[in-house]
């Protein structure tokens, strides 16, 4: 009753192939659905004028600014902190109960629903520290949210640098820090950058954290302590309050394109970087 390998092979390829086709199809469906409704709305005018009448008409200019500033602040805070932590964990500690505990902690943090970070940010930054609904509160909360992602991806990238490079560096009289700076980090950079880009992507798309910590002001922010609104939040409010489905889809299209641009830029930067080294 044994099925010949020839047939199990065919069955396996069919099932695996079907799964792939299904996945790609869903992705394309979502993209086409959103872009089909959103692209006709999207124009330079839409991007660079302020909204009017709560967003029922007009564009998304202040929201564009908010969408740039919040992830920017988040990444400025989270990238150095996260990369430094991962370098320390991999290069300067031995695998012990404490490092395992730290790793377990970051894994748990990575799995925490974003709304929890939103609530934390609201209580800690907005109320206790009195920063109010602001770019500062939002950016810091987002930074906390993406920190585990950055730490784990950088850790993997640093760990993947061949041990031989470290040994050679030590054997030529380099200290551990020199080795990290001149050999480990440059070779881990593509992976580290991937983590940072993932972090930027997540913070651009994030809604729950931003509503709780940055508010939803439609004015152009003039300082980091002003409230602001990101595209994800704008989309959510327009759709939920039934203000304007057209503008909601226009915003969604802009959001998708923004994320695509971030990812493509990172991809090409990394490619050029790798090409330059080899």
């Amino acid at each position: 009753m044994r099925i010949p390998p020839k047939y199990t092979q065919i069955a396996a390829i069919t099932i695996l192939g079907a799964a792939t086709v299904f996945t790609v199809a869903i992705l394309i469906f979502i993209l086409v659905f959103v872009l089909e409704k959103g692209l006709p709305i999207l124009s330079l005018n839409f991007l660079f004028t302020s909204p009017a009448d709560m967003g029922r008409s007009g564009g998304i200019f202040p929201i564009l600014i908010g969408t740039v500033l919040l992830p920017l602040l988040a990444i400025i805070v989270a990238a150095p902190l996260g990369i430094a932590t991962s370098v320390y964990l991999v290069e300067f500690t031995n695998e012990s109960r404490i490092t395992r505990l730290i790793r377990f902690g970051t894994d748990c943090l990575a799995g925490v629903p974003s709304i929890i970070f939103g609530l934390f940010g609201f209580i800690f930054f907005v109320t206790i520290l009195g920063m109010g609904w602001s770019i500062m509160s939002g950016g810091l909360s987002l930074a906390f949210m993406i920190l585990p992602t950055i730490i784990r991806t950088s850790e993997e990238a640093i760990r993947a640098v061949p041990k031989a490079y470290r040994e050679v560096s030590f054997s030529l009289g380099a200290s551990r820090w020199q080795t990290v700076r001149k050999v480990v980090i440059p070779n881990a950079l593509p992976g580290v950058v991937t983590g940072v880009v993932l972090g930027i992507g997540r913070s651009i798309e994030e809604t729950a954290v931003v509503i709780f910590t940055a508010g939803s002001s439609l004015l152009i922010p003039t300082s980091v302590f002003d409230s602001t609104r990101t595209m994800a939040v704008h989309f959510y409010i327009l759709a939920r309050e039934g203000l304007s489905m057209e503008n909601a889809y226009g915003t969604a299209a802009a959001l998708i394109i923004a994320v695509l641009i971030v990812n493509l830029t990172a991809y090409f930067m990394m490619h050029r970087f790798i090409a330059k080294r080899n």
């Binding site: 031989a164 040994e167 054997s171 030529l172 009289g173 380099a174 080899n278």
Partner: protein, 257 residues
């Protein structure tokens, strides 16, 4: 102090025991390495020869759970003494590894790596030592026009000699070679061996090898190790023609190992 004597010890190993956790990898090893000679360490896999090699520049410090007792004297100073500056030690006792392992950088940047970490900034000084190192490793003529090409694009034997050049740039006294030819074909191997003969004029070389012919071709002294013990240590010629111990004879004649 012993300049008048033609042969003198540069490294003196005294009662060296080394443990990986509970496992004892080296058992009370005592041997001295002669200045400006090539000493080969041979023996079957797991006999401790690489471990011994790596305890001469404290590369074993990087492995967790390693415990060492006894002494390794370099020019009379114990390298395991807490006063020993480990980065200085590793420059004095340099290492060439089993697989050619240039950094994914240009040829130039590879050769000057050790100088840069030592704080040399002057371009003319870097250029000068770089050229000298490549010449010493017989690479200058082939590589002088492509110094800024990626090192990883070179053929393997040039990569390995580049690694030697990179080491020479930091002006070592002793060169440890851990099976430096095991990734190379016979022609490349003979180039590296010829280079070793040349280097012997200025440097002390300790080489670990699995290749008995290589040991007999290149070395002046040979030490045979077996499960953590130094079985026999003598002139290479004597080891290969008239070994004093039965185990050595069995090993070099291919009866085990």
């Amino acid at each position: 102090m012993e300049e008048s004597k033609k042969v003198h010890d540069i490294i003196d190993i005294k009662n060296l025991d080394l443990y990986y956790g509970q496992f004892q990898a080296l058992k009370s090893i005592s041997m001295s390495i002669q200045h400006k000679m090539i000493t080969a360490l041979i023996g079957p896999s797991g006999c401790g020869k690489s471990t011994l090699l790596r305890s001469l520049n404290r590369m074993n410090d990087l492995i967790r759970g390693v415990r060492i007792t006894g002494q390794v004297l370099l020019d009379g100073k114990d390298i395991y003494n807490s006063g020993m500056e480990i980065t200085e030690l590793r420059k004095t006792v340099g290492m060439v590894f089993q697989r050619p392992n240039p950094f994914p950088l240009s040829i130039y940047d590879n050769v000057v790596y050790g100088l840069r970490v030592a704080g040399v900034k002057s371009k003319s000084q870097l250029d000068e030592i770089m050229e000298w190192s490549l010449r010493s490793a017989w690479l200058w003529d082939q590589l002088k026009d492509k110094l800024h090409h990626p090192a990883l694009q070179l053929p393997l034997d040039q990569q390995q000699r580049l690694c030697i050049a990179r080491l020479l740039a930091v002006k070592p006294e002793v060169i440890l070679m851990d099976e430096p030819c095991s990734a190379l074909d016979p022609i490349s191997t003979s180039k590296v061996e010829d280079l070793m003969h040349e280097l012997k004029k200025d440097y002390t070389i300790v080489i670990v090898t699995h290749n008995m012919q290589q040991a007999s071709r290149v070395s002046d002294y040979t030490a045979f190790y077996y499960i953590g013990n130094l079985i026999e240590y003598a002139d290479t010629k004597k080891i290969f023609t008239a070994p004093g111990v039965k185990q050595t004879e069995d090993y070099i004649s291919g009866r085990f190992g």
